[in-house]
Symmetry: C2
Subunit: 258 residues, 2 copies
């Protein structure tokens, strides 16, 4: 499926419930967070203060399931292939549709994801080892504090991709143009300086080899807001299930600054 | 002296014959290479093929001493405070004026210099240790080949500035916007991977400490074309003397891409 509307229609009608990786290539896929209104303002502020881990693409009005800036037909209650429901910070279930859970006070947030800048890296001829190995990108909790907002606070989570030095410079140049999807890395080289003890033991995802002539590059990761959100134990929080993203009508290229 | 025209006038009239560092702040200072026409086409091609070490800002017509794109009144025979004259690749003298040496077949090249991007680094709050220590930036010959053009060929020379990882990323982001003055670094981290054996022993300039929590960043250096030029032993070559640059009417800011 190459057209984002076609992808959303298939998901909406229960014809696709799997991962979205590789679907509608060239179009932005977003991380989803749905919260009751009483948390929404603080969460919006948290995103504003932490744009690298929380690049906000769109937020709905309370009770409104539409996000027209991301797709005219888009309905946040049906268009994600798999949702994860948390109550008081505890995961309670995964579901394929949240119409039954929808309430007039819910606000949907859609955040950018590294898929967008990874496309630009691949188009520039850079290689992503975790993709070539068919694994998930390794993620690490760091000692870097996010900027708190109300009840939301916590440590920055980063994803790691290894590159040779000249490619590392290219990767920084390219991703710095993608401020709306995490932007440039937050750190490179020495993991110990940001509280990562062992690259071979990621907090999430799979370990990726860093070869002798390579440097590890660390990008702010879109898991950060989820980790911060759940620590705040909101009465209700609905996210996409990992890898089951919201496919939007925005092109990755449209997110790049010139 | 804050105005570039004022600086050039003082130099032209012999009232200033020293270094140009700190003069006309905010304005581009250029590296100068003057060659007989028979070498000019190959040198222009060498610059085109090696834009990082040889960021060409302007070239004159043969025999013309004016470079109006860099300054309406500019005269390349009188407006550099100190010239260095080489014959067959050997340094023969330093002079304050080259009107007596001027010929109808000479072509002047002006290349961008790292002063321009260093201003942007300082304005972003980054610190340049060699400046704070009142030294010259350390320069190293690498094992990286330049792209040859006719008689011009040789190894890339780089300058080194140390930064902590987060500042290193900022420095790459900032200098990548200055493609007309060397652009982003060519290497970072491991000096041995580009043939530098000992950071404490630069090929030119002064050694600069790289602290335990820092990475060395390596930029293509404007000394590269001079080194390549002299290896080709042209019958005549006139350059600026180190630190005695051509002050132009271009602003550093005008060289940045958006």
């Amino acid at each position: 499926m190459n057209d984002p509307r076609e992808v959303r229609r298939a998901i909406r009608h229960g014809e696709h419930s799997g991962h979205t990786a590789g679907l509608a290539p060239g179009y932005v896929q977003g991380n989803v967070c749905i919260l009751p209104r009483e948390y929404a303002e603080e969460f919006a502020l948290f995103c504003e203060r932490n744009p690298k881990p929380c690049p906000l693409l769109a937020a709905s009005q309370p009770g409104e399931a539409q996000l027209p800036s991301l797709g005219k037909d888009l309905d946040i209650r049906t268009d994600v292939p798999r949702y994860r429901v948390f109550r008081n910070g505890e995961r309670v279930e995964d579901v394929g549709d949240i119409r039954a859970l929808w309430r007039e006070d819910l606000v949907a947030f859609v955040l950018g994801c590294s898929f967008s800048f990874e496309q630009a890296l691949l188009e520039a001829g850079l290689r992503l080892r975790y993709l070539e190995e068919g694994k998930n990108v390794p993620m690490y909790r760091t000692s870097i504090d996010t900027a708190p907002a109300g009840r939301f606070r916590g440590k920055l989570v980063v994803s790691m991709r290894p590159f040779k030095p000249a490619d590392a410079i290219r990767a920084i140049e390219i991703t710095s143009r993608y401020a709306r999807v995490h932007g440039a890395p937050v750190h490179l080289g020495r993991p110990d300086l940001i509280g990562i003890e062992d690259l071979a033991r990621p907090w999430a995802g799979d370990p990726t080899e860093v070869r002798e002539d390579e440097l590890p590059l660390f990008w702010a990761c879109g898991i950060t807001p989820q980790s911060v959100l759940l620590d705040a134990r909101p009465s209700l929080c609905i996210t996409h299930a990992p890898g089951h993203m919201l496919v939007t009508d925005l092109t990755n290229a449209s997110l790049a600054s010139p």
